[in-house]
Symmetry: C4
Subunit: 275 residues, 4 copies
């Protein structure tokens, strides 16, 4: 059970990071697949990501319904997660959000979102745009059932991100830390591309070879990836919750304690209650 | 009287949210109609929204004048509210503000502000631009009497928002929570459209059917709407003031207390004095 | 001497507001003319505006030199202030700053900065661009002597603001509160115009009649102007320093004390030391 | 050894400033050459700049390898620093970062980054763009060995900054305070130029004479430069660590103590632990 506890703690951290880094606001969510039961996943009950605690996490099945009898309200769009976990066995974490600077690329026909900066390489060479109206006509634009979720998952295909026209994006990763990082740098890559277009002339995108090389070198618990996870968690006020299961380099007791202290002090939002 | 007390508390929360979310600054205001007397409405005395407390709220008539003898200075532009309440019996709350990213759409002739993102659907398919100069010539651009207020209300018609050329916007809703949400997402929709225009090509606006579908599904006390209200209030440091009169899902004592505590700790501005 | 004390306190407040509102950073300054001796003015010693306290204020003559023997380092560009005070007897306060969004208008030849929003009206119908190179050739672009200051003042003429090519702006007002307000809204007006240009089509500027009407109605201690001053000071953490010498509407003891308390609590930067 | 201690303290301050001013995030680094041994330099171990303390600083040789036996993980891209120190004997400090608004200029072919504002003059008249793919083909875009570092240093030549296509920039200065200032104002200069391009018409760049005049007048411990360093350190919460070895104007005990106190109170991130 220690493992599940870590996973749920990491999911809380992920929510706080996405809120602090402006990927989600009152809306948007992140989920992680159950490590022992691939047909279940964890996600928060209906709550703004910045306010989520461990006890807010619920366990859902691949139909998007709660596994246990739980009367708490759930996210309307939990089917995005269910359908992607269903379609992609290798995916272990999913984010859905409305990060502002990704929106223009789902609305304007002329410019395709592609990686232009190294930290954006993980969005992959192809970012499809899903338009719910194509199959479902005049909806409220939300993904509120499995049929819609599956259509989105189909459009996503084997890619890492799909834009959702007039709405936001869905991203999928092999690990939680990976999908969070991808989702934080997605809007940054979008801004770099938008501004480059304004400067004019030919745009130098990352080459396929560069995208592949970066993907090959990626590891969710590498020193470099963990540096960002640790930093973002600290900024979000939950640095004291960070644990690193398979640290290749030992984190000394002293340094951990210090970081936790600093995290609590530094956090602008100072959610410093005992956990 | 408990009801009135709740309404005034909600109006304070609305002011703080609009300030925190950068919809208002030193200027801008929000009002709510008296629940028992449709010819009266509540609004703050002349004060920056971020500083407003319950005792700053005054009661005005549909002529924009105070109902009780009150020597405190009032907003010059309270006639915007009076005239909209007069013209629109179904409207119960009004916002007037100068949110920066709405301004370009009142100034530039070429691009009409329309919903391009789902959270912007509530601005409605038609956002008229009111130019005070058309009828009133060379004024100080402010709405300082009922004649000007009525001309604005006429331009607003049955729409949810009117832009005011070189000045800002006025928005109207059936409930306070609705008009606040609309006003928070209005600048975001404006930014998404501006950036989409820069990316070029055809713009995919929300369709009329999508706008209608979202309007039909909207409820000011739905789980989803309340999630944002609760989150924004918490961010603005007044999470402990939030009450939910007709909660479809019970908010447990424990969770409420926790949220209030977190709100007080999290609030950057920490207005944590007893209310 | 009480009067001088108030003026120096107001100058500290002005510095803090300009810092908090991103008009100045490590650089930029604001000055006020001596009320009893028009040939003297007050300005801080060389220090970042956000850090300035009452004891940092020095008294200079219209030659830009200190009146008293003072060994503390002074702003290199104090001659901007000296020369404008010399040329414009009706001007009582001057700001020089590098607010980021004013810079493009001093660099790009095609678009003239003019008022497009009501809060920008005070920059006036004509904002000249001064280029130091025209008369002084290849300098370090700074105004470091009276000859350069006088050339800038000549370019400013009877206007409220002059842009300084590749550098920033200088603004002048009849009162401190006026020049601060103008300087805060100047970058906002610049942004609104830049974005309107991007939206395309004809731009509706404020008309001359509207600019005149607003200028006529302006008073540095009106309820409306003071609302902003009080709010900005509170945001900047110096709300407790605010005093209002000629208040047309009495500020109750209670409300003042409350505001001061809130200011101290709210201030993100919490410079809460006793003054 | 007092000298070394000061240098390491200054390097911590530099890291904190670059983080606070949004030049670096989880990634990016700054280094300083050993004052007594030009073949060594100091840089942090692999850690986000905002979290760095004195004990995180390591000493490396010009091959990018640690001088002492140290098992802590190092920055992958430390070879950027090593190669620039190797190629440029007069350079004593180096920054590598991904500041967002510098990125478009490395991606878009049409617009060259050049100084348009006085604070941007220190980037120099020529900012080359280095493309790692030109010599090394399809890499992960990172500079992970001396060969790549040397190729970048060659492209940098005698300039102050080189943009790195799809990645970021490397900047070099005679002193730490100089390279930090350059790196803070580099993105600001980039934004001013981008926006000027949007306004249209001819762009007025700083002239060669102006760039030269400013470079001649620059001194890392001038009153003006130190004002920014002191201010930025205070904002970043490490104002109490600032010392000024060769102060031309005495900093009074009282003022220093006051500043340190204010720094601790003001710092939003309040890392107020004893050092």
């Amino acid at each position: 059970m220690a493992n599940l506890d870590t996973i749920i703690k990491d999911l809380v951290i992920a929510n706080r990071i996405l809120a602090k880094e402006d990927v989600v606001d009152a809306y948007g969510h992140v989920s992680i697949r159950h490590p022992d039961n691939p047909k279940h996943f964890f996600i928060s009950r209906s709550l703004a990501p910045e306010l989520i605690e461990k006890e807010d996490i619920v366990e859902l099945g691949l139909d998007g319904q709660p596994v246990r009898d739980d009367k708490r309200a759930l996210y309307l769009e939990r089917f995005i997660h269910a359908a992607i976990f269903e379609a992609r066995p290798e995916v272990n974490a999913v984010v859905h959000a409305h990060a502002e600077d990704t929106l223009p690329f789902g609305i304007a026909a002329a410019t395709k979102l592609k990686p232009v900066i190294h930290s954006g390489s993980f969005i992959g060479p192809n970012v499809p745009v899903w338009d719910i109206a194509k199959k479902f006509g005049a909806t409220n634009v939300l993904v509120t059932n499995m049929a819609q979720g599956r259509d989105l998952a189909k459009c996503l295909g084997s890619n890492s991100v799909a834009l959702m026209r007039g709405h936001g994006f869905a991203s999928a990763g092999r690990s939680l830390i990976e999908v969070v990082r991808l989702s934080v740098y997605l809007p940054r890559n979008a801004r770099a591309l938008m501004k480059a277009k304004q400067l004019g002339g030919q745009i130098k995108y990352l080459s396929q070879g560069e995208i592949d090389s970066r993907a090959r070198g990626y590891s969710p618990y590498s020193v470099e990836t963990w540096r960002a996870w640790h930093y973002w968690a600290t900024k979000a006020g939950v640095g004291d919750m960070v644990t690193r299961p398979d640290a290749p380099v030992a984190v000394s007791k002293k340094s951990t304690k210090k970081s936790a202290k600093k995290a609590a002090k530094k956090s602008k939002s100072a959610k410093g209650k005992k956990r």
